[in-house]
């Protein structure tokens, strides 16, 4: 059987915020129907890459095609088809969750009945329906994250781009999100998932991309990466390929500046 055509095609992608390059010539494909994990140390360029892929940032050079839309020209059409959970939970604090979600759905041109039904179902699933009239400024971090996840799913996107989606979620909610992501991928949707929680990535993702200093340094399934590096866990793989040093001396150094 032929593999489905990629939903994300990136060729020689470079990006800078005006200074030195943040991303250095990235090239990769992502196919639908799989949950692809995006890993990397802090400052590796993961969030920047995701923002380019959802059309919020323009690449400095290179070819980026997402869901058949070549960016940046096709970004408006692309935004109709993707759900994005950003790294920072920026929300209108004085709106209630219901109002915010209604706004999101209407901006996507959703039918009103469908919108209300989906809001009810998704908020109930996340255990937020009773709090839907509470202003977002009063929500806890986890509750805000659930609202962002709901907003990302509301218009039934064919691709999900999630930047640290489990931040602030309780155990039960985290399990729910992980199962949800697997189910969405099983339906043939593309899920791109950035996280620092490696054991979750190992369990949820069928493929992992590891970025370091804006370069793609590893690409493969967790099993293949473990096998290639002779490591037992994805965390060990990550530490090996990113050349993370031994933490013990750093712990000792930090402890030495504190009171014994």
């Amino acid at each position: 059987m032929m593999a489905p055509s990629p939903s994300i095609t990136v060729r020689d992608l470079r990006f800078s915020y005006g200074g030195p390059d943040i991303l250095h010539g990235l090239t990769f494909d992502v196919r639908p129907g799989e949950v692809t994990g995006l890993l990397g140390p802090n400052g590796a360029g993961k969030s920047t890459l995701l923002r380019i892929l959802v059309g919020i940032l323009d690449a400095s050079s290179g070819h980026v095609e997402v869901q058949g839309h070549v960016l940046p020209d096709g970004r408006l059409a692309l935004k109709q088809t993707i759900g994005y959970v950003p790294e920072a939970a920026e929300l209108y604090e004085t709106l209630s969750a219901l109002e915010f979600l209604e706004l999101c759905g209407r901006l996507h041109g959703m039918d009103e009945d469908l919108l209300q039904a989906r809001i009810e179902t998704l908020l109930t699933g996340f255990g937020l329906f009773e709090d839907r009239l509470l202003r977002l400024g009063a929500y806890s971090k986890g509750m805000r994250q659930k609202v962002l996840l709901t907003a990302a799913l509301l218009h039934d996107p064919s691709m999900l781009v999630l930047d640290e989606p489990l931040t602030g979620l309780d155990t039960d909610s985290a399990v729910l999100v992980k199962r949800l992501l697997s189910a969405l991928a099983a339906q043939g949707r593309t899920v791109l998932y950035s996280s620092h929680v490696l054991d979750v990535v190992e369990r949820v993702c069928s493929r992992v991309l590891i970025l370091n200093y804006g370069r793609l340094i590893a690409d493969g399934s967790p099993e293949a990466l473990k096998s290639a590096t002779h490591e037992a866990t994805l965390e060990d793989v990550f530490r090996q390929v990113t050349q993370a040093g031994d933490v013990e001396p750093r712990v000792q150094q930090m402890m030495s500046c504190l009171r014994p």
Binding site: L76, I82, L91, Y92, L95
Partner: protein, 549 residues
């Protein structure tokens, strides 16, 4: 780049969203988003419109004069208001970040923002022109419909000014990095204001023969809208097409060019503003300031807080804007005053020299009043983790920084310049007097700060309050300067004694201010530690319009 087609449904949604956010005080830094602040502003503008109305009531002017005066006043007052308003509305990265990944075309989003800004401008224009429009009925040659044509011209003039301001911002958006557009706009406004006093000198230099009724005035937008206000009325309009048309073409070009830039990649650039902003700091300068502040406050917490205030004040747009808008025009008036900065001890000493210490004092009070309000107020939680002794340090550090930056450093500069210009005795005494006056300003007004530094969301109502404080200080300053001219500076001994008395007053008042602020600090903290759990039972729009559903 994708501009994106205009989507009417999304446009209506965003306009309603802005209205809702305004009604719920989410974006309080904008007058147009803050009903009470806009109400107060409008009331003040109505009163201000009394001036052209009084001119009209004298009956010695023509309707054209009144319209030109009203339109010019509207333009002069509206541009600074609009620059601040448009910068906050159009260049709000946090707001754009919420919507950046939604399928909203730049054109739709910018159109919604323009609608809001034009609405704000029209309110300002109508408020300022309400009284002159009514007073115009008394003028010879006006019909009973004159108020309507006058107000229509005012509204159109204001709307045009809003479009032109946004166009200019758009041009700046193309020329400077997104993170610096607000600063560039502020400086452009200040430089524009600064060029006005220089204009007569330039005209003198080129020996230009400028007449009030010259046809060249037709090239300016105020003439077009004044002519519009005269439609159907008696009296001739100053509208010479040969001059007006090039002006119109140029204006249209600016507006279209600016707006077209705004609609290209606008949301992307705005939402990445914060990320693109870089900062640097001089470690050596910080250490020196830290040592000075530690001496002044007697604690590390005070020094640390003072340094924090110093750095934030330089980087925070709200503080910088307040300070520059309050001080630069005043300073310019003083520096360009006739006679220059002659020694105040001389018989023919200039009034500007007498006023200078008070201008610095007003700057300091404006800064003190603005310090609590910041774009970065969400980081205020840090103060909730500070022990009581640390909070005392924050208060002391803030006052110490204000004194150091607002009193000590200007006085040292004055000492150097004045000593070089007027000799050691006069220069030294003038600098000592300046230091005493500035310390006194801080001591007397320092207690009135409206919060711990950078802990409150920018509030348009505060802008009016700040302007009132500055206005009060200007009255006090001018009164004090008059006393200096007619009595104090006639004798060196009097100045020396006055400096000592003012210095002692500053110490006593400063200690009292410090105590008041220290006692207030805990209640200021309590004000933002509570959470507002208000619920909204009414959805964003109770019912979507059927025609849009």
């Amino acid at each position: 780049m994708s501009i994106g087609a205009f989507d009417r449904r999304q446009y209506v949604l965003i306009v309603r969203l802005l209205r809702t956010l305004g009604a719920r005080r989410e974006l309080t830094s904008q007058f147009g988003m803050h009903g009470p602040a806009l109400g107060i502003l409008a009331a003040l503008l109505v009163l201000l419109g009394g001036f052209p109305a009084l001119v009209a009531l004298t009956g010695r002017v023509t309707p054209r004069d009144v319209l030109m005066l009203s339109q010019t006043m509207t333009l002069v007052l509206l541009v600074p208001l609009l620059i601040a308003e448009a910068a906050d509305a159009l260049l709000n990265p946090a707001e754009a970040a919420v919507l950046a990944h939604r399928p909203i075309g730049n054109l739709t989003y910018v159109a919604a923002k323009l609608t809001y800004l034009i609405g704000f401008a029209v309110v300002v224009g109508l408020a300022l022109n309400a009284l002159p429009a009514l007073a115009g009925l008394r003028l010879e040659g006006t019909s009973r419909f004159y108020p309507l044509t006058h107000l229509a011209a005012a509204a159109l003039g204001a709307a045009f000014t809003a479009l032109a301001t946004c166009g200019a911002l758009g041009v700046l958006f193309r020329m400077v990095p997104a993170a610096r557009v607000r600063n560039a706009a502020l400086w452009a406004q200040l430089l524009g204001g600064l060029s006005l006093p220089a204009l007569p000198h330039v005209l003198n230099l080129i020996d230009a023969d400028i007449r009030f009724d010259g046809p060249y005035w037709s090239a300016l937008p105020v003439s077009w809208f004044a002519a519009l206000g005269l439609a159907g009325q008696g009296g001739s309009a100053l509208f010479v097409p040969a001059f007006a048309l090039p002006g119109m073409v140029l204006s249209a070009g600016l507006v279209l060019a600016g707006l077209s830039v705004l609609t290209q990649g606008y949301m992307i650039r705005t939402s990445t503003t914060r990320r693109a902003a870089g900062t640097t700091t001089s470690v050596r300068r910080s250490r020196l300031a830290m040592r000075l502040l530690e001496r002044l406050t007697g604690s590390r917490a005070g020094a640390g807080s003072g340094l924090f205030v110093m750095k934030m004040a330089r980087r925070d747009w709200q503080v910088r804007r307040t300070l520059l808008q309050a001080v630069v025009p005043l300073l310019l008036v003083v520096l360009t005053a006739r006679g220059g900065l002659r020694s105040p001890f001389e018989e023919d000493g200039s009034f500007a020299t007498h006023l200078l210490p008070h201008i610095f004092g007003i700057a300091m009070i404006a800064a003190a009043d603005a310090l609590a309000f910041s774009d970065h107020y969400r980081a205020r939680w840090i103060f909730l983790t500070v022990p009581a002794s640390g909070l005392r340090g924050v208060v002391r550090g803030t006052l110490a920084t204000l004194w150091l930056s607002g009193a000590a450093i200007p006085s040292v500069v004055v000492l150097i310049v004045a000593t070089a210009a007027w000799g050691v005795e006069h220069g030294g005494l003038y600098a000592a007097y300046t230091l005493a006056v500035l310390s006194c300003y801080l001591g007397v007004f320092g207690w009135a700060q409206r919060g711990l530094p950078f802990t409150r969301q920018a509030d348009a109502k505060r802008t009016i309050g700040n302007a009132s404080v500055v206005f009060l200080c200007i009255i006090l300053g001018v009164a004090a300067a008059i006393v200096q001219v007619v009595w104090l500076f006639r004798d060196v001994g009097r100045v020396a004694i006055a400096s000592l008395v003012l210095g002692a007053t500053a110490v006593i008042a400063g200690r009292t201010s410090l105590r008041i602020l220290e006692n207030k600090a805990l209640s200021l903290l309590a004000a933002f530690s509570g959470r507002d759990r208000r619920t909204f039972t009414v959805a964003l729009d109770e019912a979507e319009d059927d025609d849009l559903a």
